[in-house]
Structure formats: structure tokens, C-alpha cells
């Protein structure tokens, strides 16, 4: 217990981060360990390369995009709070949370909307708030792999966009994106149990 406390003290700004992300002490500690393990030269921050070193991430079709999402606004350095903030999207939603939440406070990072927003920005490469047909096509190409011809991919992309596209602008806005997924249990599908 004592060792744990001393470790917790080693996490800079632990309290603030916890308040922002809602992570438990233990979880934060664990993440800090991981952060340090990923940080090769003890730079104090992570670079893109650090994340790219993770073997399994390299084979993940969305690996690059997910790494990118750790580096918003063209940053090249990822400090610990930033690291945790991204991961906080995947914290499971607390059941009792929404009722008691102070309306003045910002929506927690792991809310349904924020989870969706995280997914959305993986599609929306040019950050114009819309998934264009082209962006959809690119994602599809990553996901579907080589089995399907380009032609077919395009039809799928077309159809996917059309399906979600309500205002007929040929692109999927965030609103439309959420609508197309309204039947899905996002809170469950975009959460990882260990990130309590």
C-alpha cells in the first residue's frame, strides 16, 4: 500500500487528471507505468515513433489514424495528461453517473457523444466535420482489405454515405453519424473494462 502511495505521488498532477478523466487511482498508476514504458528515452513525452513501435498497432488497419488521434493539432509530443485524456474516451460509462452530474461541468470524456466523436474524427481526415464519400471510401479500403474490388468498394462507400446522409449533401455529418448509430450500444462497444 505504501509503495502504491509513493507511486501515485510520482504521477504528476494526478488529482487534476483524475478529476478530468475519472480514472481510478490504480488505473492511473497503471497508465503511468505504461506511459513510462512507452517513453523510450525518458523524454517525458511520447513521440509518434514511440507509439508506432507497438507491434500489434502496426498491423491494425486503423493504427495510423489512432496514433494520429493521440497527437491533435499537429503536436509532436504527447505528455501524460494528453495520453490519459485520449484513453479516457474508453473508460466504461458509470451507470449512476448522468443523474447526479453537475450540469455546469463539461461532459465527461467517456460520454456517448465523446466516444462517438472520437470514432468520427478517425473518419474525418480533413476535419471539416463531415465524412465525405472519399473519406468513407478510404476507411472502407482499410477495413475491407483486398478481397473486394475497388469498384465494389465504391458502391459500398456510396451506399454507406447515402444510408446515413439525411440532408443529401453527399457526406455524413457528425449528427448523421450519431443517428446512424443510435441503435447501437456505444457505451458498451467503445469501452474497455480495465480502464475503470
Amino acid at each position: 500500500m505504501g509503495a502504491r502511495a509513493s507511486h501515485a505521488a510520482a504521477v504528476p498532477g494526478a488529482e487534476r487528471i483524475r478529476r478530468e478523466t475519472g480514472f481510478s487511482q490504480a488505473c492511473l498508476l497503471r497508465l503511468h507505468h505504461r506511459f513510462q514504458a512507452l517513453d523510450r528515452n525518458n523524454k517525458g513525452y511520447l513521440s509518434r515513433v514511440d507509439l508506432q513501435q507497438i507491434g500489434a498497432l502496426a498491423v491494425n488497419p486503423l493504427g495510423d489514424r489512432i496514433i494520429d488521434s493521440f497527437f491533435p493539432d499537429g503536436n509532436h509530443q504527447l505528455d501524460f495528461p494528453g495520453f490519459v485524456r485520449v484513453l479516457a474516451h474508453f473508460r466504461p460509462v458509470d451507470e449512476e453517473d448522468p443523474g447526479v452530474r453537475d450540469p455546469k461541468q463539461p461532459e465527461p470524456l467517456n460520454s456517448r457523444m465523446n466516444k462517438l466523436r472520437f470514432a468520427f474524427q478517425l473518419y474525418d481526415l480533413d476535419r471539416d466535420g463531415k465524412i465525405s464519400r472519399n473519406e468513407m471510401l478510404q476507411v472502407l479500403r482499410l477495413m475491407v482489405g483486398v478481397q473486394v474490388t475497388e469498384e465494389q468498394l465504391e458502391s459500398i462507400a456510396d451506399r454507406t454515405v447515402q444510408e446515413a446522409d439525411e440532408d443529401g449533401d453527399g457526406a455524413v455529418s457528425f449528427l448523421e453519424f450519431t443517428k446512424s448509430l443510435e441503435k447501437m450500444n456505444i457505451e458498451q462497444k467503445m469501452s474497455i473494462r480495465i480502464l475503470k
Binding site: L38, I66, A119, V144, T149, Q152, E154, S155, M184, K189
Partner: protein
Amino acid sequence: MLRAALLLFVLPLAGVRAAEEPTPEPGAPGESPSGLALFRWQWHEVEAPYLVALWILVASLAKIVFHLSRKVTSLVPESCLLILLGLVLGGIVLAVAKKAEYQLEPGTFFLFLLPPIVLDSGYFMPSRLFFDNLGAILTYAVVGTLWNAFTTGAALWGLRQAGLVASRVQAGLLDFLLFGSLISAVDPVAVLAVFEEVHVNETLFIIVFGESLLNDAVTVVLYKVCNSFVEMGSTNVRTTDYLKGVASLFVVSLGGAAVGLVFAFLLALTTRFTKRVRIIEPLLVFLLAYAAYLTAEMASLSAILAVTMCGLGCKKYVEANISHKSRTAVKYTMKTLASCAETVIFMLLGISAVDSSKWAWDSGLVLGTLIFILFFRALGVVLQTWVLNQFRLVPLDKIDQVVMSYGGLRGAVAFALVILLDRTKVPAKDYFVATTIVVVFFTVIVQGLTIKPLVKWLKVKRSEHHKPTLNQELHEHTFDHILAAVEDVVGHHGYHYWRDRWEQFDKKYLSQLLMRRSAYRIRDQIWDVYYRLNIRDAISFVDQGGHVLSSTGLTLPSMPSRNSVAETSVTNLLRESGSGACLDLQVIDTVRSGRDREDAAMHHLLSGGLYKPRRRYKASCSRHFISEDAQERQDKEVFQQNMKRRLESFKSTKHNICFTKNKPRPHKAGRKKDGVANAEAINGKPARDLGFQDTAAVILTVESEEEEESNSSETEKEDDEGIIFVARATSEVLQKGKVSGSLELCPSPRVIPPSPTCAEKELPWKSGHGDLAVYVSSETTKIVPVDMQMGWNQSISSLESLASPPCTQDPTLTHLPPRQLNVDEPQALLDLSSDPRPSFAFPPSLAKAGRSRSESSADIPQQQELQPLMGHKDHTHLSPGTANSHWCIHFNRGGRL
């Protein structure tokens, strides 16, 4: 015919028999010494199968009767009704025969009745859901069953010690444990029968049902261990035996699962090579699954586990390998067999209960058992759930626990096991039988009856049925990848990590090995959803029959319902063409080398008004292939013609194939090369030439043959049904003139036709006019010859006009006399004068244009984009993003090909 064959078959047999027996055989005249018997009653020779058939028939008829009244079946589960029917029938038999004749024989039950049900449930098990909840399922199945068995057995023993069970029930602790082990297992048949009608949410269902399937291993082990202990006598049991008992749990469960997986592997591998003998595909599925069951049974492993794993493991590959028809056959046969077996089981349960000779009633035992199994089940569920919830992302709440406790139904497995007991070794067998019957009846009837109201009353989350959408499918995949990636980043190798790993392994090795190459290529979940959506749209479109093309617009059921349904639908119909289930619009985009021209012309001519000549079909009467009969074909043909050939490929993509196969077969390779050559020859974006498109189309159709002829190029004989793709042919005709010049033009993405709707209307469709105009759309550049058959045209235009009412059309765009067009674009490069046929570029996106029109205001820009070809010569005028990449893509593809 069949009779004759039978007779022939019987004759030799009859001859042999006649030699042996004095009685004459009716079928063997001349052999009879005492004259010809006209009639002979041979009941005993057919008795057994006849009775089986009769029972099944009675059960099926009973089912029909039950379902005559919807009210009854909505209140009472079918299993209850069947048990009651069994009771009645058993009573009748008893009254007539004075003894109970029929009953559920354990041998029959385990060897014939159980396997189909388990196979059905394993094969159609939602595997994703199953593995998502595997932890919980295993816990309940293993720990829960052990817990139930031991607590129930021990408690009953305690009851006996306390004197509440009559002393005539001669049973020691081991006997009670044995009884506890057989009565404790939740029964898959009963659970399935009841839960299928209750529609609780999927998670709850899969947990209860998965438990009932997987606990078989535990039940088998417990039962066997206890049974052998009882037979050995409790004094002879040594410590090593207990250890062996524990070890056998692992052997039986893992061994059963391994047997199942081995057979799943074999099955998948076998179906990879059935391309030429499609007809035995369903048979293989059943045979190998059954072989798995029997093998496991033979090695006294868990047979249920084996067949479950077999079904679960093979499904993905088998479904990819076998033909569409085989898939349907497998599905229906499986469902039929399972439902048949289930019906018979419940009915026989009822009948068996009547046989009072096996009964020995002891109220204390019966009541005690009932109370204990309910109580300990509930207690076990609560305890386990509490532990599980520490690890579950989505905890199981109290309501779930209530349903799980209450849904622990006992069934025929327990009954069969108790019948199997040896009375000499287990003196209390009769009491156990009676108790088991009561327990089974109580759980199936009382709990089965009340669970529905209970679920309603507790407001258990029901399963909501929504149709899959592409978005959901795609995003779900995205989420999976995201989660796997996040787990990587966090450095925790959890469930998502391993699933990701497995999927990669599967993709890299297993699928390669077990799926035939063509199937592998097109087997993708996203693609699959897309394909199915298309099929559904197509079917509904056909169902609505062209006549629904009314002003209200046609709606596609697969589209999420919202205001824009009407507009999207047509687009989809046209868009889809690029894919497996394609309307032939896009298959048209052909530009082919000169030789096809004549073919095409002739082809065109012939198909214009003729039904296909009969001689095209081989008269075949093969056992190995199901051939459509002539009538069917003709109907089909007429239908096709009536459907203006538009929806051909929905019905079956065959047509595409036979087109590619029959006609331009020799050119196929050439064409391909052609396409590539063109793509290379013409530099830059223009290289996105029509020839190439053609190639794409051809390949596309071939690939999308996932239905019948996966490897179409090899399955020659499959049939030669279609003179269908006239459209394509004609564009071939066009080709010659075009290849040289027009290609440069077409690719310009800005060159967009006027709304195809309008164009279509204005263009001279009849070939007699000889006018022609070519429009190219930015998105597609599909060239569609104008002179397709009338039917074609009309259907298209009707469709189009539907999508975009004429009133909204831009008059300037609509009134483009095609002839004038030609004049207006001297550089149109389409040397069309060499071609007597008019042509027309028909972008698949045209409906989009139409749609936006009909949708009114929002789409003015898009409307403006639609311009006659000649309006834009300049290639620099590229619309950003989409168009650009689009061309590039095509180009790349050309290179690849």
C-alpha cells in the same frame, strides 16, 4: 418412374425371398406356386419406420393445430402443448393397449433426436455474441452446474437423513449426488424451446442458452463419475478415483471440443472442393457434424460440445464455400430436423410420463427436489453473477439474474439420463424417475408458461430486431479495431487484443486454407451486409413489381425509414449495379474491341424479341445438378422480358456469367489486356478509359458470383441462360468508334450529362431513329447505348421519371436533341456515325441527380453540375476530392489488372 425403379430394385430381392419362402411375392409373378396373391399385408416389415413416420406426422399435425390459434401459442409455449399432447396420446395408448408402448428411449434420444437440435443451435449460434460472453457462459456452465449438482444432491441427502424422505427410498449420499448431477443440468432443448418465444435480449439469451449447451460436458462427467462410483460401491472409491473424476472433466470437455473442431476443419476443407458436386454439399454438412457427434459419443467425450463446436467452427467457411442454394438447403433442413426432433422429444416426454410402471412416488423427494433446484439455482446464479460482475464491462443486473435463475429449465436430457440408470445398482431409480418427470414437467410447463409474463412484468430488456445497416457494420468494425489498438497502447492484452489476433490469423492462414479462393475474395462482412441489402432491395423491388413505380416512389426496405427514402431508393437501385447484386445498368459500361461488335449486334438482334431457343439447354436429368425445367425457364424468360431486363441479376447473377462465358469468352483475356493497354496508353486521368471499365465490370460479375458458380470461369455447364446483357453488347458496338478518341474525353470528371432523366426522355430510344448522343458523367462514365430494347428504356425512364418528376427538370438541359448534340460536338470524338445505334451515357449516379431534384431545393449545385458533354472540354475543371480520387483509383486498378 420412381415406382418402376423401386420395382426393379425389389424384384431381385423378391426373387431371392420367394425361393426361400413359400409365400408368393406379388411383384414376382411366375414364381408363386400357389397362384398370385393380389394383396398381402406386410405390416411387420414396415412397422418400425412406419411408426416413426407416424409419430412425426402426428406431432407435425399437432403443431399445425396449435398454430391455428394465435392466441394459444402466444400464451403457451409449444413445448408445453406438446407435452400435454403427449400425455393425452400416452393415455389413449395406455387405454387401448393396456400397457405403455412407446416412450422416450435414451438410445434414440441421444443418437437421433438430440444431435439435430444441438447442431442447429451450434451452427446458427451468433458466434460473436457467444465469444463476447464466453467467460460468463463457461462460469455458469461449469461452476454453476457443479454447484447445482452438489448442493442439490447433498441437500436431498440431508433431507433423507432428516427423515423427510420416506425410508423406502433406498439411497445413500452417492445416489443422491448422482441424482443431483443429472437433475442439475439446464437442458438446451427446453431452454431453446421456451426462450425462442420469449425474446429476451441477446446477451441474456446467449448466456442461458450457451450455458445449457456447454454444461453438457459437466453433466456427462458428473453423471458418469457418480454412476461408476455408485456401481463400485462407496466403500471402494479411492482418492485416485476422485482425482480421475476431476481429470476426466477436462478430458471430456476439451476432448469433445477438440473432436468438434477437427470435424469442423474437415468439413470446411471438404466443402472447398465440392464445386462440381453442389448437390451433396448439404449432405456433407450433416454427415460430418453427425460424425463428430458419434465420434465424441464413441470416445465417451461430450458429444453435445463436439457438435456445438463443429457447427460453430465450420459455419464461416462452409457458408462461404457452398452455393447459395446449398446454404438454403442446409438452413431449412437443419431447422426442419431440429424442430422435428424437438417436437418428438416433448411429445415422447409426455407419453413416457404415462407409463406408471416405472414410477414410484415419494412426495418428500419430489417436493424437496423441486424446491432445492429452484433455490440453489437462484443462489448459484446470484453468487456467480456477483463474482462475474467484477469483471464484466456490462454487469448483469438483478432482473437478468431473476430471468437466468428462472430460466434454468430441465428437460429431456435429465429424463433420458435417469432412464439409463441401472435399477440393480440404484435401487431408488423409480423414485428418481418419478421425481425427474415431475421436475421436467414443472420446469417446462409451469416455468415455461410463466416466464413470458414474468419477463414482461420485470420489463426485461427485449431483443430489438433491427435490420443491419452498412453504417453499423462498418462502424462496428471500426470500433473493434479502435479497441484493439487502444488495448495495445494501454499494454493490456485483453479480449479485444486476442480477437484481433485471431482475426488476423484467420485471415492469413485459416481462411486461405479453408475457403475456396473465389469465395475468400468476396467474403467480407461489410461486403456481405452490402450484398444482402442489395438482394433485399432487389427482391422487394421485384415483389412490388414494376407497377409500384408510381409517383409515390418506391421505397427500399433496407434503408432506414426516413423522409428521404424515396429519393435514395432509385439511386441505390442504380448504384448497386456495380456490385454483386447488380442491376445491369453498370454492367453495361463496356467498350470492347472490334470483334465483339458483330457478336453484339447479332446478340442484340436476337434478344430483342425472341425467347431463347430451347436447344440452348441440354436435356439433362442428372442427379448431381438440379436443372430448372423448361417451364421454369420459360417463365423466367418471360418474366425477365417483362421486367425489362433490369432486374436480371437480382434473381441470379448467373446471367452475367453466362454472358461473359458464352459470348465473348474468347475475348475475355483480350479484353482485359485491352483495358490495361488503354489505361496505359492514354496517359493521366484520361487513362481511366472505358475499356478498362469494361474489364472491371466483367471481373466484377465473375466475382460476385458467390451464389452459384463461385468459380464461374470454370463452371461451364452451369447454364447458358442469358442473352441478357444486350446493353453491354451494344456498348461493345460503340467501342470501336470510341476507343481511339472518346476516351480522352470521357474521363473529364466535370463532363457531366444533363440529368439522365431528362436526357433519357428526350433521347430517341428507338433504334429506328438512329440518333445518338453520348453523355458522360463525372462519377461514372458508364456508357449506355441508347438503342436498347424498348422495354429497357421504358423501365428506366419510368424509374427515372419517378425519381425526378419532369416538372422539376431544367428545360435547357432536357431539350437537347441528340442529333444536335452530335453536331455540336465535333470533338466529341465519338465516331458514332460508324455506328448506327444511338448511345447514351448513363451514369449510375444519375438517380442521384434525379433524387436531388425530387428532393428539391437543397441540391441546386449538384444540378448545375450536370451538363451536357460538350459543355466542358476542359479537364482542369475537376471537382475536388471525389472525382479526382475516383479516376486515380480506376487507373490504379487498371494497372493492377
